[in-house]
Every structure is written in structure tokens, then in C-alpha cells.
Symmetry: C2
Subunit: 360 residues, 2 copies
DNA sequence: GGTTAGCACTCGAAGGAGTTGAGTGCTAAC
DNA sequence: GTTAGCACTCAACTCCTTCGAGTGCTAACC
């Protein structure tokens, strides 16, 4: 009552104990439980007093008069900021993750999906992934692949990704023509920013390749489509059903509401845009979340940066009493691994400035 | 009591009324409800007697002594087989579906996914789609697309689909080399069945194109990978969260169990393999299902055939008291539309035997 | 003989009273 | 500052009653 300044060490210890317990049991924690489970050399009465102080200070709250205490957003915040052990290395996880990623490493879209999957697997919460639509798409290459006499696969290679679209031409055309056309397209567009691909260029190609404009239209449409795919942020959700295993969903209504919410574009945006420009992780707890519907949930978000560009993000959504330790350390670990691997290993974009001195 | 032969017309009418009611309300149906809601010119007492008969005959059952009646599997079966109105055309749906399918028509995998999505949207139940891995894959075309100096996109075109895989070569190579190589690969493999692509051919290509074998290996690996993708049956589930909206999931446990079950490969197999070789729809009701876990659910399954080959299937899974009318008619409709559209319209495979008389 | 009205009976669902136990706040003693 | 002790609170549980929808059966009716 007298002083309401910072947490002293004992209060901090008790706060941590309460939160640890609550995370584990999802039940309001009483003073006696703490006294018994942690050998602090304090009686339940003393702890009771401290807990009353913590409540007054806003770190804890009680659902009703005579029940144990539950952490508040402020309590979780302190816990997350100050009380977590530094992320531990988990070599046993590492090899597993690496092997799962190995296959996917060639394209960022698939890669991030794989990350989200793995993270959801590890943490048992929902993981939401995004691939960041790079604002300005640079076309590295365009290729046309003849499929049959009237269908052409348009392949566009921007940075760090590959997009393709099958288009149907208004009339049959020979494979050789397509291949010839392919090199005209490639010559015209490669290295150019996406804005460059305007209708103007069609006329140029039409002249150069001596081909009717309406044969080219579906192809350029296809390219536009690929560009649009690149520019668009993509969302995907992994492990939604897992959340049903959380005891907080004791009624089906809650589960329903949550699932409805998590499918709302706006909420997804909020979840994902949460992390600011920093390169680290962001944790948003309970009422800290912008969206009301998320006030009983926490979001831990990691952005993945390669070569200074954000290529996407993975966020974990779980109940406020989530296992922060686990979530944060696995996300951090994933982020480190992915960025390191991307920097040393494949990924089309990273080879740009190499010289082809070994060329065969 | 006296005679236990077939349903007479009145019994059938009452049975249908009970099932209609139960499907709507998910509550045991009493004789009075029927008497009031349907103007049959019969009192509740008479209907009560008839319902007792229906129970004795196995079409209905009552959860406990003094509650209304609930349809049994046999009851549903009779309902589905004899009492549904023929599928109605829904022009308003048609245009919607067609426009949604338009975009996806180029590849069967995406197409069936889109179908499952639409069906789940319409029916509000879970839809499970599969693409049938065609046993014997015929390689229509192989193309290599240079991405940058060390990465190559391997594109393989089998029937009705397109697969691609990005591979990394052990050493840089020029785009022109790749394009040259591409035509060698294509010449060697196109029109050949997948089995043909053996290690033998690598040597041949290695000779013909004058290139080191270890540069070719990643590429053939990529092709193998594409073939494997074609051969594999693929599953996907749409609208799983919708099922939570069914009142039968009054407890979270049930929902959990169901979601666990629906993710089990074996159960999925059963759901999908349910439909026999017939070309129509298959309905499996409650206890008719092979898997115990599904005994409170019904599955309606449609196989899609194009040119006499099954290209995949979509199944709807819902509670036994699902709206069969809606599910069956929309699935049937979808099947008809898809097959018709596939027969008249694009889809790479369908152009094969056309001559390129219009060639530009 | 089929149909109907009437009545006693059944049984789950809903609501309320009493009990239990974990937990609190407060006070007084150490 | 810490602790023991005690009165108090309140959700959760159990037990009990009431309520009503629905049944089966019987006797009367057309």
C-alpha cells in the first residue's frame, strides 16, 4: 500500500510462479499452491499479501472475490519481456527442420508455408504465414512453354519466386513458334520492372515477332496475372484445428467465433502487420492486440528478412496463457535458421551478382 | 402388427415428414408436430400409431421411451433412394459456379480443389477432394526454363495437368545451353510413358548434348519428382471449420474427435474410395460407413470422369441428418457441369486429336 | 375396421436449495 | 516483516422438484 513503485525481486519471483502455473494449468492460481510448489521459504499468507499487492499494481487480477489470481496483460508483458530464458538451441529439432526445409528451399512461397507448418507442429498453436508481396516486382525472366498446339504455359521469374499460368490461345500455333516468341518476350521484359509491361510492348512484340496481337493478348494477360500474384500478399493458416485442443475453448461457440475471426481478412492483416520494421520478434498480448476479438489471445510474429528485404512472416496465434517460452524460442530459432540458410544456400535471387566463371 | 411388408403410401408420407422435420430441427419429432405441420387429414393419434409401426419396421427409433422419433440408417436410406426430388437446375448457381471454374479450368488439380470449395460453400458441410493419380503417366512435354545461371525450372506436362520443380545445378550454365538442352530432353521424352525415363536415357542425353552427367542428374531428379507428383493421389479438405456450426457438435470433444478422425489417412481413403466404379453419386449413411467413427455421419461422393477416365472426386461429409436434397443435387449438378465443360472446353488433354488446321 | 379423443405414464430438461472446498482479506500475535 | 487463524465468499457439485412434450393404451366413434 505504502509504495507502488517497481516490482522487487520477491514480487517478480511470485509473479513468474503464478504465470508459470497458470500457463500450465489454465486455472486461477492460489497463494497456497505457490507456497507449496515453490520452496520460497514463505508462507501462503505472505504470498497472499504479495499477490494482493501485485493485483493492486495491475499484474494480476482475480475472476471473482474468492478465487485465485490470473495474469493480466501487463503481467504477461513483464513475463515476456523480462522473465523468459534465452532461446535454447535444440539440435534435435534443427536436423528435423532442416530436412523438412531442404526440399522447399527453392521458392519462398512454399518455404514459408513449410515454416508455418513446422512451427504449428512444434507449438501446437495456429500459425499464420504470409508471403510479402514485394512492392516493385522486377521481371528476371519470362519463358513460354508449349504444352500442346493451343495451350501455353507462361512462366515468369521474379526475385525469389516463380509464377506460372497456363493460357489458351485463340488459335493453334506450333511449338517452334512459341519457342521463338518466348525469346522475344524474354528479351523484351527481362530485367524490367513490372510497370514496364504495358500494352505498348505488345505492339512492339507483335511487330518484331510478326504475330497477330490477339494471339499475344492471352500471353500478356498471363504475365499480368503472374505479376499480380507476386504483388499480392498471400495468407495461409496452418493447424487451425489444433486450437480446439486448448481448454479455453470449453464451449463450441467460442471455437466457432474464433474460427470465424481468424478467417477475417482484416484481422489477419492486423495479426501480420503487427510486427514493425525491427528485425526481431514481436509479441502482442491480449488486450494489446488492435482487434477486440483477439483480446483473449496473444500473437507472436516473426518477419523473415533476406538481403535486407522482408520476404514474409510467420505468426503464432494462441491463448494469452500460451507457452511463450516455447513459441518465442522456436520462432526465433526458425527465423535464424531460415535466414542463415537463405544467405549461404540456394534461392534464385542470391545468385545474381555471382559471376558465371565456372560456366560449362 | 399384422403385416410387416412394404411401406404403404401413408407410412411413406409420414416417414418423409419425420425425416424432413428432423433434418431441419435436429430434434426428435413427435406425432403432434407432424399432425399440425402437415395437413394430412390425420390426427396425432393415428400418426402415433403409424410411427409406432415405422419404428417396429426399423425406419425410426426413439432415443428414449417418451420422446419423439429419430430416423434410423434404414430410414435415411429409403429417404435418399426414393423420396428426393430430382435435382433441380439452378441457373443462378450455374453462372456463379461457371465463373469460379473458368479460371481454374486449365489444370485438374486446381479445378477439383475449386469444386470442393464451391460445394462446401453451397452445402455448408466439409468437402473432401482428391485428384486421382493416373496410374500410367504419359509425358507430353518436358521443358527447361532457365531462371538464372544455376537454377533451372523443370516443367513437365502430362495429361491434364502441369507439374514443375525448380532445381539447382552443381555449376552455372548459360541460358542458351539450357534452351538447347531443353529441346533434347523434350525430343527424348515427349510422348513416352513415365517408366521410360530411366537412368539409361541420361547417358543418351549426356552424349547427344555433350554435357556432364552430373549436370543432368538434378534435372532428371526434377522430372522424376514431377512424375511422382502425378502418380500420387492428392487429398484436400475444404471447410472443416464449417462443421462446427452443426448443432450435433454440442461439446468440443466431439468436434475434436471428428477433426482428428477426418485427418486420418485411412478414414480419408475410405471416404474417397467409397464410390464404386459407377459413374453416378454414392451415398453412404451412418452405420453403412466402413469406419466406426463415421457412424454418425453420412458421406456423399461424386467421381468425375473425363473421357472415360476418373480424374478425381469430391465427397461431402456431414451429419447423418444432412440436407441430402441439397447436397445430392448440388454435387450432381457440379459433376454434370464439370464433365460437360471439360468435354467441350479447354483442358490440355482434350486437344490432342485436333489437327492444327488453323495454325498461324 | 380404421380413426380419434382422452388419460395415465415416462423421462429428459430446467431450475432451485443445500453442501463443499478452495481461496481470500483481515487481525492479532510472533 | 512474517505468520497463524478465522470469518467470509463464491463457483461447482449434488440432489430434488417441477414441467412438459411425447408416448402407449383403451374405449368410443363413423
Amino acid at each position: 500500500m505504502e509504495d507502488k513503485k517497481e516490482l522487487d525481486q520477491r514480487k517478480a519471483m511470485i509473479l513468474k510462479a503464478v504465470i508459470d502455473n497458470y500457463i500450465e494449468s489454465f486455472e486461477p492460481v492460489g497463494s497456497r499452491t505457490i507456497a507449496k510448489r515453490y520452496d520460497m521459504g514463505l508462507s501462503s499468507a505472505t504470498i497472499r499479501n504479495e499477490m494482493a499487492d501485485l493485483e493492486e499494481m495491475g499484474y494480476l487480477s482475480s475472476p471473482h472475490t474468492s478465487s485465485g489470481r490470473v495474469p493480466s496483460t501487463k503481467g504477461y508483458r513483464t513475463y515476456v519481456d523480462n522473465m523468459l530464458k534465452p532461446a535454447i538451441e535444440r539440435p534435435e529439432l534443427a536436423s528435423d527442420i532442416i530436412s523438412k526445409l531442404e526440399d522447399k528451399m527453392t521458392e519462398y512461397g512454399k518455404l514459408i508455408r513449410a515454416c508455418a507448418e513446422i512451427i504449428s507442429d512444434i507449438t501446437q498453436y495456429i500459425a499464420i504465414g504470409t508471403t510479402k508481396g514485394s512492392g516493385k516486382v522486377i521481371v528476371k525472366a519470362v519463358q513460354l512453354v508449349p504444352v500442346d498446339d493451343q495451350n501455353v504455359l507462361v512462366v515468369m521469374v521474379p526475385d525469389g519466386s516463380i509464377k506460372s499460368k497456363l493460357v489458351k490461345l485463340p488459335a493453334p500455333i506450333s511449338a517452334d513458334r512459341i519457342i521463338g516468341l518466348s525469346s522475344v518476350f524474354n528479351r523484351t521484359f527481362s530485367g524490367k520492372p513490372a510497370e514496364f509491361i504495358s500494352l505498348m510492348s505488345i505492339n512492339r512484340i507483335s511487330d518484331e515477332a510478326d504475330i497477330a496481337r490477339d494471339m499475344l493478348l492471352p500471353i500478356t494477360d498471363g504475365i499480368f496475372d503472374c505479376i499480380r500474384q507476386c504483388e499480392a500478399d498471400e495468407f495461409f493458416t496452418e493447424g487451425a484445428s489444433r486450437l480446439l485442443k486448448c481448454p479455453e475453448f470449453d464451449s463450441v461457440d467460442k471455437a466457432r467465433d474464433f474460427i470465424d475471426m481468424i478467417q477475417d481478412k482484416d484481422v489477419l492483416e492486423q495479426i501480420v502487420n503487427l510486427s514493425d520494421d525491427e528485425s526481431g520478434l514481436t509479441v502482442s498480448i491480449g488486450t494489446e492486440n488492435a482487434s477486440d476479438g483477439l483480446s483473449d489471445f496473444s500473437v507472436v510474429s516473426a518477419k523473415f528478412n533476406v538481403d535486407g528485404n522482408c520476404i514474409g512472416s510467420v505468426s503464432v496465434v494462441g491463448p494469452t496463457r500460451m507457452d511463450y517460452q516455447k513459441v518465442i524460442s522456436s520462432l526465433e530459432y526458425m527465423k535464424r535458421m531460415l535466414e542463415k540458410k537463405a544467405a549461404t544456400d540456394a534461392g534464385p535471387k542470391l545468385l545474381e551478382d555471382k559471376n558465371g566463371e565456372d560456366q560449362i
